[in-house]
């Protein structure tokens, strides 16, 4: 048996990955509550695996436990990225159960339970930061991007030298202003998308393959 026939394709791709970078990464979808993280996770999964991640709602903190799917392959022309995708609960600095009652009409018991689970979800999201290789940070492009949650997540990932891709979501809304997001965080790629309609998600996938496939040495916080 010749040396070339023994040089199987799998070995070759492993060597190429070792030289040129990572092609299997654990990617977290992060952001404040109600920016469309699970809508985006569902969009990615539906398009590449036919599956979905979880339920979505207009009421904040619908996702209160992290959910993940493994081995999702995204193709982009000649290159691809295989990833484990983690949909994290929204990170917030405050959670008031009365908001669920007064704004969204939940009863007191439901509201208290939702708020309690939401606090646990925030802690879980923060702990997942230790275990990921990159983040799609979802922001609502209709809102002020300089929230402390956004700034904290970005600062934390920069300190660990982990790649961040900002998805400027809800671009389909009239008041959307992705340019504001780009000027707020010029050090990171910003891709305007609508996770709801699928607008520009091709561009997001191209950027994910390019950005998360790069070779990096992960620092621990």
């Amino acid at each position: 048996m010749g040396i070339f026939s023994r040089f199987k394709r799998g070995n070759f791709s492993r060597i190429i990955q070792k030289i040129f970078g990572k092609k299997h990464a654990k990617i977290g979808i992060y952001g404040p509550p109600n920016v469309g993280k699970t809508t985006l996770a569902n969009r990615i999964l539906r398009e590449w695996t036919g599956d979905i991640m979880g339920s979505v709602s207009d009421i904040p903190h619908e996702t209160r436990r992290a959910k993940w799917k493994t081995n999702i392959k995204i193709d982009n022309g000649g290159s691809s990225l295989v990833m484990d995708l983690v949909d994290t609960p929204g990170i917030a600095t405050k959670i008031d159960f009365k908001e669920f009652m007064n704004t969204y009409g939940l009863n007191k018991e439901e509201s208290r339970m939702r708020a309690k689970e939401a606090t646990e979800g925030v802690i879980e999201s923060i702990r997942w930061l230790e275990d990921i290789d990159g983040v799609v940070l979802v922001m609502d492009s209709t809102k002020d991007p300089f929230t402390q949650v956004n700034v904290t997540i970005i600062g934390n990932l920069e300190a660990r030298d982990l790649p961040i891709l900002i998805a400027a979501n809800k671009i389909d809304a009239d008041e959307a202003s992705p340019a504001t997001l780009k000027s707020a965080f010029p050090q990171h790629p910003v891709v305007p998308i609508s996770a709801l309609t699928g607008y520009n998600t091709e561009d997001l996938y191209t950027n994910m393959v390019k950005h998360f496939g790069k070779k990096r040495n992960k620092k621990r916080g």
Partner: protein, 125 residues
Amino acid sequence: MVKKDKGISFNLISRKKLNNFSSSEKLKYIMKEVRQGRILVLEHGLTPTEQTALIENTMKEIDHDTFIGIEMGGYGEEKTSFFQRVFGVIKKPRMTVIGPAHLLKMVHKDHDKIETTIIPGKGEN
């Protein structure tokens, strides 16, 4: 929520005092003050790791009848030059305002301005 009889306390905490704390002491101090209804302006803010730890601690402290969390706003870390990085000068966090979320509301923030307000009805004498 606890309504303060004597208005709202704003405490401006010096860089020197903050530098004398370890990270965990700093976070404990902040949480204690904020839980007592004080708004803190830190001359020297928190590192990103301290910020996430503070959020985590806040979530553990939330008691839905007396404490709904914090409001926090700070400027990004100071940029360091190439030569500073070569000589090991690390990025330093800048001024940060932190307060209980039932009293303090962040109105607007950008690169140059942090605009906050006291929630109506909470800061009256």
